[in-house]
Symmetry: C2
């Protein structure tokens, strides 16, 4: 499947549409108009139609979209219809929080391994935080475990000064997708993809909007 030049904002909104459609489905709704979907997702109806138009024709004129059909199609487009197996590297507070983040599993994102370099964490300190015993592995075993457990996405939750090193290890283990929470820009070779979640960037954005 290849769609060229789809703006990143469109992909972000597709993800939002998919959450809204899930909610509609849970309520038993069968059909939704682009106007209704737009209101629910806090965008405008023209935007919904434009976003979907990148990927073909959806819905029936004068009727709207069949909820479960559109949800199925969007998940297929996003690649979120399959299960993604993930590893977390860095089991401090944030790693622990993500490890027990319920929304991941609901969306087919499954954390199948947790790594750290701190022996205290590895022998079980973190398991208390998580409320259940968790096998935390030493990062030295990353390459092997990635292969055994078919891990495709690595989540970096180490301190900033460790992030590039962990990214290098993930690349060496051929983990193609990286979600980076460490406040540091990391570099990967072509063909590997990094998405950053920088909390302070979002706060800067909020601060800006509060200031103007």
């Amino acid at each position: 499947m290849k769609f060229s030049k789809v703006p990143e904002a469109t992909i972000r909104r597709l993800s939002r549409y998919s959450r809204c459609l899930e909610q509609l489905q849970a309520k038993g709704e069968k059909v939704v108009s682009s106007a209704q979907l737009a209101t629910k997702c806090a965008v405008n109806a023209a935007q919904v139609r434009k976003d979907l138009a990148y990927f073909g024709e959806f819905g029936i004129r004068g009727v709207g979209y069949y909820v479960s059909e559109l949800l199925f199609d969007i998940k297929r487009i996003l690649g979120s219809d399959k299960e993604w197996r993930m590893a977390i590297v860095g089991m401090g507070n944030l790693g622990s929080a993500l490890f027990s983040y319920k929304d991941f599993l609901k969306q087919n994102y499954k954390i199948v391994a947790a790594f750290d370099i701190d022996p205290h964490r590895i022998i079980g300190r973190v398991s208390e935080k998580l409320g259940k015993p968790v096998e935390i592995l030493h990062s030295d075993t990353l390459r092997e475990v990635v292969r055994e457990r078919n891990i495709e996405i690595g989540i970096i939750t180490t301190p900033a000064n460790q992030a590039q090193k962990v990214a290098d290890q993930l690349v060496e283990a051929d983990v193609r997708g990286i979600l980076n929470f460490a406040p540091a820009q990391i570099e990967v070779p072509e063909g590997y993809i990094v998405k950053n979640v920088f909390f302070t960037t979002v706060l800067d954005n909020l601060a800006y909007l509060l200031s103007v």
Copy 2:
């Protein structure tokens, strides 16, 4: 200060430039060209110039930008030159992680209160996680504490089904900026601003890029 129609992506990049400039400053660099800054921030030089052009004229032709001057100006634009006082509501794993997130404080974002409704957390269970004793307050006292401590930003880290209720409490306490980590769309009256950090949305984006 009022700048109209500045794209959100520009604001996000300004935040990134500001981090890069801080790193340059820490290294003792005095001057940087737009090309150098662009390389460091992984964007192109024309983009840097275009983003800055929204806010006036910066730098000297043929020389570049004075690092500390540009950093000062960008922080002023972003509103991140002042201290922002924040409260976290929901002291589970994620709330605890954000509470001890070092990068916030480095950037003038100061968490001055932590709330929960779980009496077990309030009487001190979470303090173990945080590695230091922390006074966690009951959400019922939010309005009062917001006033006493001049809180301007509220961070929601509750479960999804509590998010709207907490947002309503924050609005009632006149907290104008909300950073929402709960996987739920929340609604606020005009004049209040919500920024969402949805981890699964970022993962959807990554999954899409890994699929195409």
